[in-house]
């Protein structure tokens, strides 16, 4: 099905998320939609899928004007979307999710649905067992399930919003193969991403959005990468990564920020035992390992959110083994969790209100004007695309992350960051790291967990490798390579670097 977009506009308050967008996508192709975070890609796709309502403009499907005012209308017209955070129901099984709200003529009964699901699994090389509870599926499998569901509903235009975030390499290969097979059957696929290499690998055309406008309409691939970067990020292009200079020499006598003496800490089934470690000031420590190997346990221990079962924890030389969380906060420790919306920020509150919550209160009455000024300063300093009165939930991921950085107190001495740049584009990620490295030169100790090797190797001074609850000793980053790191994370040669029991 051909898709033509004419002058589509969508505004949120004073923000023009989509500004008179005109694009056209030919049937039977994979079309890439590129752009940095907040460029308006997701908004455009949600307009096509009827999830959001357009302010003006029109969409033509196969040359006929289509009224895509609700998801129901869009699905009936043959347009379906796999959202970045899969829109499914965690309490249901895979099959129930597949069957739920499907059109009766497509899936007349649960038995038929089961057959169809198994058949689509085989056809597309996916691996979703019908009776698995959704909670046991990986993000990649949930996405596969959504794709199969939309196909079963008879969708002719399949929209995928950042489909490669949070899925494994094998799942990505399966996804790409399946998408190619679908276009061969005449499906139109719209592939939204901020990753250039994926778009180059998969797409026949690419359209580039910047600040809600089209800056590169359906360019035929391949295109020179430098050209695409220039279009995505504007004339200046993407800034070079701010590689850290060598660590500032810390005098041996200076007390480390954190000192762990034979700590044993347990969370759920995972135990990190007998950990002895000292983390100095002005130093970036990267925590790496497969998901759930103990990185988060250490972060939460250092933040005071988790108490050790045995051992001693010193903070600036003071014993805080049994101290409450607020003692850690008072000592200048800040913890930024991975799930921003869930436990990082309060979505319904504005930046001004967040500042009021985090700063020390002066008296009983809020000084709104003052807080507003502070918020404006933070917005300018951190380049946040928002007004002081925008609820944080309506910001893009990169802007939320910058807002969280702006909330950190200036006196912060230790910064714990779980996945600082997950889901951010290159420019946002670099901007975040510029801020962090600035803090580091001021003497803040930064400990972060990440799954991105480049990020770990580019920005760390020291590395800690986790393997099933075991921890290596502090490895200097300068002598580390990506290959070696990958081996260590997988457990190859881990015994050589494992911290000796004290």
């Amino acid at each position: 099905m051909d898709v033509q977009i004419r002058n589509l506009t969508k505004t949120f308050g004073s923000l023009r998320a989509n500004d008179a967008i005109s694009l056209s996508f030919a049937a039977g192709n994979i079309h890439g939609i590129l752009g940095e975070n907040g460029a308006g890609k997701s908004t455009l796709m949600k307009l096509l899928a009827g999830f959001l309502q357009r302010d003006s403009g029109e969409v033509l499907l196969d040359g006929q004007p289509a009224r895509l005012h609700t998801p129901a209308a869009a699905l009936a017209a043959g347009v379906g979307m796999v959202h970045q955070d899969p829109m499914d129901i965690p309490a249901f099984s895979a099959l129930e999710n597949f069957f739920c709200a499907s059109p009766r003529r497509a899936l007349p009964s649960l038995a038929v649905a089961r057959q169809r699901l198994i058949q689509l699994n085989q056809q597309l090389g996916f691996t979703v067992a019908p009776d698995q509870p959704l909670a046991r599926l990986t993000v990649g499998q949930r996405q596969q399930l959504e794709i199969m569901r939309l196909l079963a509903c008879g969708v002719k235009v399949l929209i995928l919003d950042e489909p490669t975030t949070g899925i494994t390499a094998a799942q990505k290969t399966a996804l790409f193969a399946a998408l190619r097979r679908l276009t061969a059957q005449g499906e139109t696929v719209l592939f939204v991403s901020h990753k250039l290499d994926e778009v180059a690998e998969l797409c026949q055309t690419v359209s580039i959005l910047r600040n809600g406008r089209v800056v590169g309409p359906q360019l035929a691939m391949p295109q020179p990468q430098a050209e695409l970067i220039k279009l995505m990020f504007g004339q200046e292009g993407a800034p070079a990564p701010p590689r850290p200079t060598t660590a500032p020499p810390t005098p041996a006598s200076a007390t480390p920020v954190w000192q762990l003496n034979q700590i044993t800490v347990r969370e759920g089934a995972l135990t990190v035992s007998n950990l002895t470690l000292s983390l100095p000031r002005g130093c970036v420590v990267g925590l790496c390992g497969l998901d759930g190997s103990g990185q988060q346990v250490l972060l939460r221990l250092l933040a005071g959110r988790l108490r050790p079962e045995r051992g001693q924890l010193l903070l600036h030389g003071v014993d805080v083994t049994r101290a409450p969380y607020r003692a850690f906060r008072a000592a200048g420790i800040e913890y930024l969790p991975a799930d921003r919306m869930h436990d990082g920020v309060i979505g319904a509150l504005t930046l001004t209100e967040h500042l009021l919550l985090t700063r020390k209160p002066h008296g009983l009455i809020i000084n709104r004007a003052d807080a507003c000024t502070q918020a404006e300063t933070a917005i300018a300093a951190y380049n946040i695309k928002a007004t002081p009165d925008t609820p944080l939930a309506s910001l893009s991921g990169g802007n939320q992350q910058r807002a969280m950085l702006a909330l950190l107190s200036a006196e912060c001495t230790g910064l714990l960051f779980d996945q600082p740049t997950r889901g951010l584009d290159v420019v946002s990620a670099r901007a975040i790291w510029q801020r962090l490295l600035h803090r580091r030169t001021e003497g803040t100790a930064i400990v972060f967990a990440s799954a991105d090797f480049d990020e770990l190797l580019d920005y760390s001074d020291l590395l800690l490798v986790f393997f099933g609850g075991q921890v290596s000793h502090l490895l200097p980053c300068a002598t580390m390579t990506a290959t070696r790191l990958a081996e260590l994370i997988g457990g190859v040669g881990f015994a050589e670097v494992a911290a000796r029991d004290g």
Binding site: P71, A72, A76, M87, D88, I89, F92, A101, R104
Partner: protein, 330 residues
Amino acid sequence: MDTQQILINLAAILAGAAPLIFATMGETITERSGVVNLSLDGKMLLAAMTGFAVGVHTQNVLLGFVAAAGVGMLVALVLCFVSLGLRLSQTAVGFVLALLCTDLSSFLGNPYVRIPGVAVPAQPIPVLQDLPILGQVLFQHNLLIYASFLLVPLVWWFLFRTRAGLTLRALGERPTTAYARGVPVLPLQLLYVLLGGALVGIAGAAYTLDLKQGWSYRHIAGTGWIALAIVIFGGWNPWRVAFGCYLFGALQLFATRSQSLIPNVPTQIFQVAPFALMILILVLVNAGSNPTLQRWIEQLPAPLSQPVQHVLARLNTAAPAALGQPFRRP
């Protein structure tokens, strides 16, 4: 107590819990669709009064029930307008409606206090009523009680075995997802809240036209509130909720019988005891979800802690994830 007495008691428990079954099934449907209707007790009272009054004037039991169901739906409609339409707090609106309806029932029901009315006629089922044991327990009631027996499997079947039931549960779990799949969220929620309201209305009339015939102030004595608790602790599962209803019925019967056996204890104690006992039982059944208790159980020796954990995990059911949160179109 001889066998005959046991059978009489069992039959009395099954019949006595019938209004609770109607009310809890109605509320289960409503809450599974994501809407909390706290007005249950007041709604039941107003419907009970209306059903009785209509029965008195028309001398027709069926019309009484129809009127009661209508009142239940009307109150539900008010809740829908304020909470789904205007997106105000379901809790607050429900509470205010409960108080309003209670007082309305007392005010409007004044002319009907302690006058004779109509009643559902007994209707033993031929042949089946002569079955040994089962006949006496199950088949010597009236149509209302039989309907309550059928309602539980019917609601379960609808919720867990039909396409519409799956969509209904999706509304309570994640309405945004349902919306993204093309489901008309608000119209469906309206439908199920109204359906729940009708069942609660019938529950009210079941008291005035059958089990506690007649009308007086606060005629149902807070049963609506216990119904709300049973739905929550029953984990929104029709079978478990029904079990809770019969358990409460049994406790009430037990209290009434004990009253005559131990005459020197104040009667108020026996009136209140079933409520307190019910809450205690419900809390115990759902104790597994308490983190402190979980940690405490983990520390028990392994052969003891594992079966306990297993049982508690089976008993534990999660609330519909979006219960009480008004849906807003993205």
